[in-house]
Amino acid sequence: MRDVVINMQNVTVSYREDVALQNLSIEIKNGEMIGIAGPNGAGKTTILTVVNGLGRLVRGQAKVLGHLMSAGKKGRDFRLCYKTASLRKLIGYVPQGCSVDPGTPISVRDAVMLGRYGRLGFWRRPGRDDWQVVGKLLEMVEISHLAERPFGHLSGGEQQRVAIARALAQEPRIMLLDEPTTYLDWRSRQEILQLIKQVHREKGLTTLMVTHDPKDTFNFCDRVVLLQQGRVAAIGPPAKTLSDAVLRKVYGESTICCQGGFY
């Protein structure tokens, strides 16, 4: 039986007056591939930020890889917590876009190397092994030819590939992907999804992926969490969770469900 690596109990997160997640409880086992879907503002990204301790818990608790984050009586933010910083070293995070000034003094190779900085610890500079890992990852996401370019000069899709390579450079146990195929053209989207599948299997990762892509994207997930207004509307295997009836209930009657997608 596989261990539970993420356990959220009655998690509530709010941004000032807006409640992003309400009493959410979910268990995720080691090696699972979880898809997260739901309309805009349903709390998809917030789930990811709870896992890596970047969100502020108002109520409830989240136990990730044995590290307990509890809201306590007044709610809690974990940005300054050293123990949570150590936890983040084991969690690769691909955020939804990342605003960087085009003139930012950092090359693509360095931007991927950032993923290893947490593992290296203070004072230590990246060694030959680290640069080799980064080189291989750049090849894997097919941007080796851009390695010396300033990061800010890349297109949205190329920056997304850098983000995936950076998350993998952490050699994580959990991968959090927030709309990893945004900005990608059709062919790149297929390639990146294939890459995510491959890395998930080969490295034995636990992966949580938020996406707005058509429902066939979720076919390779073990389970899908469908969110609505900060609550779990449905959870289970993709075919069952994303059935036409459930989708109409969550997205509204006007949702057109066609073969392989919902719009």
Binding site: A85, V100, G103, Q170
Partner: protein, 289 residues
């Protein structure tokens, strides 16, 4: 004519006040411009302006209370860094409005207490415009004690600083205690501003922090080069400004700042980042031909 001028330039180097001023320019130029790289790269220029004016307000209030102005400058600038840093990190306010309020409050406090100082206000006015040609051993020691931790921090924590400059959320997500680092860098900015207050002046100090770093930012995409170039341009601004101030009998701090601005415009004009790819106009093709 030229040998005469050269001899005069060599001659002034023998004066102790000029040696002190050059040393202050070296230490202040390096510390200010290195801190400037952090401020410019993180796009927090207005935060730096507010911290520098808080230092000025603190120094004037200290003069009013009969205390050492440096003490007031240190307390106020570090306090401003401690308040503004966390607020900016959490994105709880828009800098253009809230920082504008902090900035105007500090300016208001400075002039309010300056007006309340009885008798001649020479000491307070010197804090406003700076007096680099009158720095003493104590000022130099303070500048040295500030420049060393700035240099050490940037050298030893280079990769952490690089991550924070890139994106603070990314730095946090890879497992760095980025929020603590960010507050530390704000603290370092406050320290540098306070230490450079007497030689450069409260109203001018931030230009020396911003201009060399902004000029260097126009010239390179490498962070290592950015730090090096900014330090070079900072010292160049100070030394060239000092020479102009001495030969043309101009106020030192103001001359340094004007020169650093000229250097910024020159760097901006020759910036490789402003290069535009020239596309030749395609010739009209006659489809009927």
């Amino acid at each position: 004519m030229l040998p005469g001028r050269f001899l005069l330039a060599v001659e002034i180097l023998r004066y102790e006040f000029m040696q002190h001023a050059l040393l202050a320019g070296l230490l202040g130029g390096i510390a200010c411009s290195l801190v400037g790289v952090l401020v410019v790269s993180m796009q927090l220029s207005f935060i730096g302006v507010s911290i520098s004016h808080a230092a000025f307000a603190g120094a004037v209030i200290a003069v009013f209370c009969g205390l050492n102005p440096m003490l007031g400058a240190f307390v106020f600038s570090l306090l401003a860094a401690a308040i503004i840093g966390p607020l900016a990190d959490k994105g709880e306010f828009k800098p253009d409005t809230s920082l504008g309020i902090v900035f105007s409050l500090m300016i208001g406090l400075s002039f309010l207490f300056m007006g309340m100082i009885p008798g001649p206000k020479t000491q307070a006015l010197n804090l406003m415009w700076g007096s680099i040609l009158a720095v003493n051993n104590q000022d130099l020691m303070i500048l040295f004690i500030t420049a060393v931790p700035v240099l050490l921090t940037i050298t030893l924590l280079y990769k952490e600083i690089q991550a924070i400059i890139f994106n603070r959320e990314i730095a946090l997500s890879v497992g760095l205690p980025a929020a603590w680092f960010f507050y530390g860098l704000m603290f370092l900015t406050g320290l540098t501003v306070a230490a450079s207050l007497r030689p450069i002046g409260g109203l001018l100090i931030f230009s020396l922090i911003l201009n060399p770093a902004a000029a260097a930012y126009q010239l390179t995409y490498s962070l290592k080069w950015l730090f090096g170039l900014a330090a070079f341009l900072g010292v160049l601004s100070c030394w060239a400004g000092l020479a102009c101030a001495y030969f043309f009998n101009l106020p030192g701090g103001a001359t340094i700042v004007v020169l650093s601005t000229v250097i910024f415009f020159a760097a901006n004009a020759f910036s490789p980042k402003r290069k535009v790819c020239k596309i030749s106009t395609p010739k009209e093709v006659n489809i009927n031909a």
